[in-house]
């Protein structure tokens, strides 16, 4: 319990730092929401008037304090500078899409990754193994914006899948596959190496000496022990996946948080960017928290050490 509270305290600190960084970063970027709004034909007076109206003419520190005050006293992220709609509502309508996409990609990456990784380990040194290693290297190296386009051009027409949009399961296959690819490749490699490593452990030799069937040794002993580093890895990879979702959402027109944020950055709509960044930070912290707790649960030594 104490462990949980301590983690919570440090998380809030992280969130404060994140918000401050985003605030300063957005202020340093040239252009502001007023310019984004009135575009290329506005006169200087029109711009100044709008800036006043939007509260953009206040100094940075003051704007930050206002934002924080609102967040803490009312639990409110403010309104979009461009549309005037409440930021929280905008975020809430998009978060489920991003979470769904990320989770599906994680599920795909782990299930397929473990299967393929095991296949490679079992056939160590064979052409199958060599091919899997080569493909997984490619999977890690190829950026999603490219693999996404390749899938779109070659895979989607053959499977008769829609390219863009969101909502149905069918719409989700292409983006989640694209997003899962790099993580899947990492999982493949990790599974393969930890199984190979496990097979050399004394407990496996004992099990073999006891005459346990090979399958049982592999799945019950080796793979289960190999899962511990995998869970650690997933914690880190989920962060990656959330970031990757920004790109994949843009490519496939998936209506998630990433799309909203990218547009908001172009519009210099800082309440949205800030809200989205904080949401993602919270998600990330939450994932790490779950990973740590489940790690402690899987391996009781961890909990003891950290207490």
């Amino acid at each position: 319990m104490k462990y949980i509270f301590r983690r919570l305290g440090s998380s809030i600190l992280v969130l404060l730092v994140v918000s401050l960084i985003i605030f300063v970063a957005l202020d340093t970027v040239p252009g502001d929401a007023a310019e984004a709004l009135v575009g290329e034909t506005a006169s200087q007076e029109q711009l100044q008037e709008l800036r006043q109206e939007m509260g953009l003419s206040d100094p940075l520190g003051l704007r930050y304090l206002h934002f924080m005050q609102r967040l803490f006293t009312r639990g409110d992220l403010g309104e979009s500078l461009i549309t005037g709609r409440p930021v929280w509502g905008l975020l809430a309508s998009r978060i489920p899409y991003t979470v769904l996409l990320t989770l599906t990609a994680t599920l795909l990456a782990t299930t397929l990754g473990i299967m393929i990784g095991t296949l490679a380990a079992v056939n160590k040194g064979s052409p199958v193994d060599a091919a899997i290693i080569a493909l997984s290297t490619l999977g890690i190296a190829v950026p999603t914006f490219w693999s996404g386009l390749l899938f779109m051009l070659f895979l989607a027409p053959r499977l008769n899948l829609p390219l863009v949009g969101g909502g149905s399961l069918k719409h989700m296959i292409m983006p989640s596959l694209t997003l899962a690819l790099p993580t899947m490749a990492v999982v493949v490699r990790l599974t393969r190496s930890s199984i190979l490593n496990g097979l050399n452990q004394p407990y496996v030799q004992i099990a073999q000496a006891k005459g346990l069937p090979h399958r049982k040794i592999l799945f019950k002993h080796v793979l289960r022990n190999g899962l511990i580093p995998l869970i650690n890895l997933l914690g880190l990879q989920l962060g990656h996946l959330l970031g990757g979702a920004f790109i994949v959402e843009t490519i496939f027109g998936w209506p998630g948080l990433g799309r909203l944020t990218v547009q908001a950055i172009f519009d210099r709509d800082y309440p949205i960017v800030l809200g989205a960044a904080l949401t993602i930070a919270v998600l990330y912290l939450l994932i790490n928290f779950i990973v740590d707790v489940s790690h402690a649960w899987l391996d009781p030594r961890v909990a003891h050490k950290s207490l």
Binding site: L161, L163, G167
Partner: protein, 535 residues
């Protein structure tokens, strides 16, 4: 544990397989004859649907289908009736009276009358500050309702550019009832009287409109002035241009605009996709910072202008998606005059060099131009928008050929706008798009330095000519004034006009009757989906 995990996996696979099977095809509704659903790609969705609200590229795409304007412009920029069947301009040019068509109704069923027109523009003056046509609308001194179908606009002084303002989609007439409802409940949409009715808007995904069955007040620029043939018209939000292209090829999207030369090449030989071209009311130009030495000298600006080979730019960098320009106004706008060709600072590298000598520069051993120990060089600022990078590279090679080295700086467009506002550049590759000759006033008059006059050009004579022209009721005199101003501008060379953009519309074969209107607007009144098309 193991069994459970396998179970989940199996279920997942089963669900995936089944859902792929079920959702094979669901289109192909279409009744007999003309109809169908047309899907068009949209890069970014509007933030709201109020013609007078926050402008965006998405908004201007949606508006023409949902809202009608009083009048519209045809391809030749002539003004044609839409909601107004006729109009009258007073002798002195300070008043315009519109006679509205009878029987026009908004999507909520309320009548579109003179009062609604008055309401629309009164509201605009109050809430439309963010709109690009706010400047134009705020020139309206008063709006009088003469009778149910007659409304008169008056101005302080003659305002010929008013037509540019009221033909923009932002000037769509809105239903006062719908505005009251939206304001009261905070929900719903502001409604118009357009050929399509907003059916649903799924944020981040699509905007769906259905045909307005009561529509019978279409403009003469289309054949079908009645209700559109299409059952529905859908905008799909697809931010990525490459994805749009893939979606068009797969048939998921019927219509999209192409803005990359490579995409045009890719589609040119596609069996079931047609390309249509339209010259836009716009200009891409090479600008000089008129307040930054040595570009504040006319001779230097003229010299560098002569070094630029526009034909090569259009051929190499623009992939034919542009027409070489010589005047500050595009040929599609009133005020353009072919005689301006004589005043063009055409491609002539030798002349460029002799002008530099005239300005006191000497070529040093390295072949660079020097004066008082200062080497002539500069930074060419432009945005990351395609094909600005390619154009800049071609310009760089042209200037290099006469011995002037430039460094290309590509920034995101807001950053460029900020930098030009602060005068932090030497050369600028930029563009404008506008609906009338008052473009000259907006982009080149000294009153707009620091904002839209990005090159900080100032010539009192030009200012006076433009001011006079913007309020001259007599067309001939007015066009003469614009011509005079453009001659001086070409001589002063704040801009070297490069080309007028050509917009390319790509549509699938099964789309019939869609046509391009003014400013690249896609007119769908005559459009339908061929029933036994592809698939």
């Amino acid at each position: 544990m193991k069994i459970a995990r396998n179970g989940i996996l199996l279920t997942l696979i089963a669900v995936l397989v089944v859902s792929c099977g079920i959702a094979g095809r669901q289109d192909g509704n279409s009744r007999q004859g003309k109809g169908g659903t047309l899907v068009r790609a949209m890069t970014s969705e509007p933030s709201q649907i109020d013609p007078q609200g926050t402008p965006s590229s998405g908004l201007s795409l949606v508006l023409p289908y949902l809202f009608d304007t009083l009048v519209v412009r045809d391809l030749d920029n002539s003004v044609q009736p839409l909601l107004a069947r006729d109009w009258e301009i007073s002798e002195d040019g300070t008043a315009v009276t519109f006679y509205l068509k009878e029987g026009v109704t908004f999507h909520d069923g309320t009548p579109l009358d003179a009062e609604a027109v008055r309401f629309t523009f009164e509201r605009f003056k109050e809430t439309g500050k963010r709109s690009p046509i706010y400047g134009g609308v705020s020139q309206i001194a008063s709006i009088e309702v003469i009778d149910d179908l007659t409304v008169r606009f008056t101005f302080q002084q003659p305002n010929p550019n008013f037509w540019g303002t009221i033909t923009m989609p932002y000037a769509g007439i809105i239903s006062p009832t719908s505005v009251a409802e939206v304001e009261e409940s905070g929900e719903g949409y502001i409604l118009g009287s357009g050929p399509f009715i907003l059916e649903s808007w799924q944020s981040g995904q699509s905007i769906t409109m259905k045909r307005n069955p009561d529509y019978d007040w279409g403009p003469p620029i289309v054949e079908n002035q009645g209700a559109p043939y299409l059952d529905a018209f859908v905008y799909k939000v697809i931010p990525d241009a490459a994805t749009q292209l893939a979606a068009l090829k797969s048939g998921e999207v019927d219509v999209m605009f192409i803005n990359q030369p490579s995409h045009r090449t890719e589609l040119r030989d596609h069996a079931s996709i047609q390309l249509e071209e339209a010259l836009m009311n716009g200009l891409i130009y090479l600008g000089f910072n008129c307040q930054e030495p040595p570009f504040d000298e006319i001779l230097v600006r003229q010299a560098l202008s002569h070094a630029v080979n526009k034909d090569e730019i259009v051929k190499l960098a623009v992939g034919g998606m542009g027409k070489v320009a010589f005047a500050p106004l595009p040929p599609t706008l009133p005020g353009f005059d072919p005689s301006l060709k004589e005043y063009e600072l055409g491609y002539d590298p030798l002349k460029a060099q002799s002008l530099l000598e005239q300005a006191g520069f000497k070529q040093n051993d390295a072949g660079k131009w020097e004066r008082d120990g200062q080497v002539l060089e500069g930074v060419l600022l432009t945005s990351t928008r395609a094909p600005n990078g390619e154009i800049s590279a071609v310009i760089q090679s042209h200037l290099d050929a006469i011995g002037v080295e430039i460094e290309i700086q590509q920034l995101e467009s807001r950053a460029v706008m900020q930098a030009t506002g602060e005068g932090k550049f030497d050369l600028l590759l930029w563009r404008y798009g506008w609906t009338g000759p008052d473009a000259l006033h907006i982009f080149l008059s000294s009153g707009r330095i620091g904002s839209t006059n990005r090159v900080a050009y100032s010539n009192p004579e030009v200012d006076a000519l433009l001011e006079q022209a913007d309020h001259e009721p007599d067309d001939d005199i007015r066009l003469g004034l614009y011509l005079e101003a453009q001659k001086i501008i070409l001589q002063d060379a704040p801009w070297q006009p490069l080309y007028n953009p050509i917009s390319i519309l790509a549509l699938r074969d099964r789309v019939e009757g869609a046509k391009l209107g003014n400013m690249g607007r896609l007119l769908l009144n005559d459009a339908y989906i061929a029933v036994n098309g592809e698939e």
